[in-house]
């Protein structure tokens, strides 16, 4: 185990996978400028800067992925992906199906999002659910340095297009990362804290808020389990249902806007498949249906807070 931050974990994953597989290439806005170590080790053919043109970055990645390369692209901030939707959704997500399975698209799209840096709505928009709703695409959103490394390595090895979202304020958070070839499988949730009274289901930065809430609840004699989804598509349905069957109470927490967010899918799945185990309603604690603000005060109002999660859990256990 070594203690490194998320940014370093991402750098390690990229270098290790490029070393392991010569088909892995990386390009995007400022990639070659910022990642000089990768350029030095792997050369300027495999690590490239691009024009500020997200459509062609994603299209180039899709075309290259289908013809033998394994591209990783950095689109910087998630809202910029709006310029790449045609290429990611219509090409990378659909051309395998449309062609009757003739092509595969091993490509990873990295983008930052999330409140914390007061960058405002055109640099911060948690759009992960858009991709969860789109066929042919996988979506991951890690919460720890170990998972940033392990899931990025898994994403690069995956033969499908994977959206890799970085919750911005986590970028310089430290964490223990296992030594060696650490790969975290896509589609597996992680239980961050065991509990018996209520399950807090979350992902990305909100996992840490849920852990703080669980700590507070513990002080009140309420035993909260914290489940980190890590992977949003596919999501670990078995882990979600197992935890719900254990606790019978569910709070789903995410920063993304509420309506048709990932929490809605989790809640619906629980209602559909574990209704008999539920001891009360399912509560969602989410960001509002509004663009992300830039004022620090409003940003804090946007992010689900520990207090709201604690209150939701209390109400479910009848306190």
């Amino acid at each position: 185990m070594a203690k490194i931050n998320v940014s370093q974990a991402i750098g390690e994953a990229l270098a290790e996978e490029m070393r392991r597989d010569s088909r892995v290439v990386m390009f995007g806005e400022g990639v070659a400028t910022k990642r000089r170590d990768l350029v030095q080790e792997f050369g300027d053919k495999r690590v490239r800067n691009t024009p500020l043109a997200e459509g062609i970055i994603a299209g180039t990645a899709a075309g290259a992925a289908a013809t033998g390369l394994r591209p990783v692209i950095d689109l910087l901030f998630a809202p910029f992906i709006c310029f790449s939707m045609e290429e990611l959704i219509n090409s990378a997500g659909k051309l395998r199906y449309i062609s009757g399975g003739q092509f595969s698209f091993p490509l990873v799209t990295i983008a930052m999002t999330g409140c914390g840096w007061t960058v405002g709505a055109q640099h911060n928009h948690n759009i992960e659910a858009w991709f969860v709703h789109s066929p042919g695409i996988k979506v991951v959103m890690p919460s720890t340095a170990a998972d940033f490394k392990g899931l990025l390595k898994a994403a690069i090895r995956d033969d499908n297009p994977v959206m890799f979202f970085i919750d911005m304020p986590l970028l310089f958070a430290d964490g223990e990362v296992p030594a060696g070839d650490h790969v975290a499988p896509i589609g597996q949730a992680a239980t961050r804290r065991e509990g018996t009274d209520v399950t807090l289901i979350s992902y990305a930065k909100m996992v840490h808020t849920c852990l703080s809430a669980a700590e507070t609840l513990g002080g009140e004699g309420i035993s909260a389990e914290v489940l980190d989804l890590r992977s949003l598509k596919p999501f670990d349905e078995a882990a979600v249902l197992a935890s719900v069957r254990k606790t019978g109470r569910v709070v789903v927490v995410h920063e993304a806007s509420r309506t048709c967010g990932v929490g809605a899918e989790i809640a619906a799945t629980v209602a559909e498949k574990a209704f008999d185990a539920l001891k009360g309603r399912i509560i969602r604690v989410t960001g509002p249906d509004a663009p992300a603000p830039s004022s620090y005060a409003l940003e804090q109002a946007f992010i689900p807070q520990q207090g709201s999660i604690v209150e939701a859990a209390r109400s479910l256990v009848g306190r």
């Binding site: 290439v25 053919k45 490239r48 691009t50 024009p51 043109a53 459509g55 062609i56 994603a58 299209g59 180039t60 990645a61 899709a62 075309g63 290259a64 992925a65 289908a66 013809t67 033998g68 390369l69 591209p71 045609e86 290429e87 219509n90 090409s91 051309l95 395998r96 199906y97 449309i98 062609s99 009757g100 399975g101 003739q102 092509f103 595969s104 698209f105 091993p106 066929p135 042919g136 996988k138 033969d159 499908n160």
Partner: protein, 320 residues
């Protein structure tokens, strides 16, 4: 595929154009009779498809679009598997999952067919990047229309291909129509190849209804790409002689304009020229027509006799 690609004689180019025309007209007839879906035909544009595709080598790749039948057939695609695909049958090139709009045939190097206008432009740079990094001198020909040249991705694609020195032959089939809009309503220039200069690449326009001229221009462009490792913009100036899709009565088309282009029909022009040159006889042409008709009838029979995919195929091929 190899046989088709080796066939570059003027008479084989003519027969291939005749096959494309017969294929497209058969689909239109099937649609009109209520026996088939609407297709976007390439009638009038056969010389562009045949002239460019036959100038490529087997190692090269092709990206096409919703008006793809000419490119596929010129590459040697089986009309039966194409008809089956259009009919949504499991024996089609895409197991019936494409239908008419986005047929890919990767064993022929016709890959990643997208019906999104400009879709091929966004993917061509990636294919070019793979080919360039693999070495070996292969190129990718990317077919699109004057409509796609109005999309922002046209700029992004040509610019990146030039900057990265990617082996892409951009083929703009300027057929004067963008769905139901006249090209002249959407741009002030007449020759799209002049845009090449803006990206620091070579460009050229050619009479897209003259198959031998297209073949010559494409051959030269391809040689330039292999020699310089730079992309090239080739414009084939042609005309969409049928509607945007079937059925489309073209009531919005100026009849004088349509008649003037019908007088330049690429198949009739080539046929007259070869007869004048005594490169073919009337009997040769009759024999070609008979062969073409037989292939089309066989193709229809194959499609009709083929079965639909089973219902459990509805959610397969989503993920690798």
């Amino acid at each position: 595929m190899t046989d088709a690609l080796n066939e570059r004689s003027p008479r084989s180019l003519l027969e291939c154009m005749m096959l494309i025309r017969a294929f497209e007209e058969k689909n239109a007839a099937l649609q009109a009779a209520g026996k088939g879906p609407g297709t976007c035909t390439s009638v009038g544009q056969e010389a562009s498809a045949v002239g460019v595709v036959r100038a490529l080598e087997p190692r090269d790749r092709i990206l096409t679009n919703h008006r793809s039948a000419g490119h596929l057939l010129a590459r040697g695609a089986d009309p039966g598997r194409m008809m089956a695909e259009i009919a949504g049958k499991s024996t089609g090139y895409c197991k019936g999952k494409s239908g008419t709009l986005h047929i890919s045939a990767s064993d022929l190097g016709v890959i990643l067919t997208s019906t999104i206008v400009g879709g091929s432009l966004s993917l061509a740079t990636g294919v070019g990047l793979s080919l360039s990094m693999q070495g070996g001198g292969a190129i990718v020909a990317c077919f699109f229309g004057d409509g796609a040249a109005c999309e922002g991705i046209f700029h992004e694609s040509l610019n990146l291909a030039a900057v990265w020195k990617l082996p892409v032959l951009y083929v703009c089939e300027n057929n004067q129509w963008q769905a139901f809009v006249r090209r002249r309503e959407t741009m002030l220039i007449d020759r799209l190849s002049t845009r090449a200069q803006a990206y620091g690449m070579e460009g050229r326009s050619v009479d897209g209804n003259d198959v031998e001229a297209v073949f010559g221009a494409a051959s030269q462009a391809i040689a330039r790409i292999r020699e310089t490792s730079q992309p090239f913009l080739l414009e084939t100036y042609t005309y969409r002689m049928r509607g945007h899709y079937e059925p489309d009565d073209q009531s919005y088309v100026d009849p004088v304009e349509l008649a003037s282009w019908k007088a330049k029909d690429p198949i009739q022009t080539t046929r007259r020229r070869l007869l004048e040159q005594r490169a073919v006889s009337e009997a040769d042409i009759d024999a070609m027509q008979a062969r073409v008709q037989q292939r089309i009838e066989q193709a229809v029979a194959f499609a009709v006799d083929s079965s639909y995919p089973s219902a459990d195929e509805v959610a397969t091929d989503v993920y690798s």
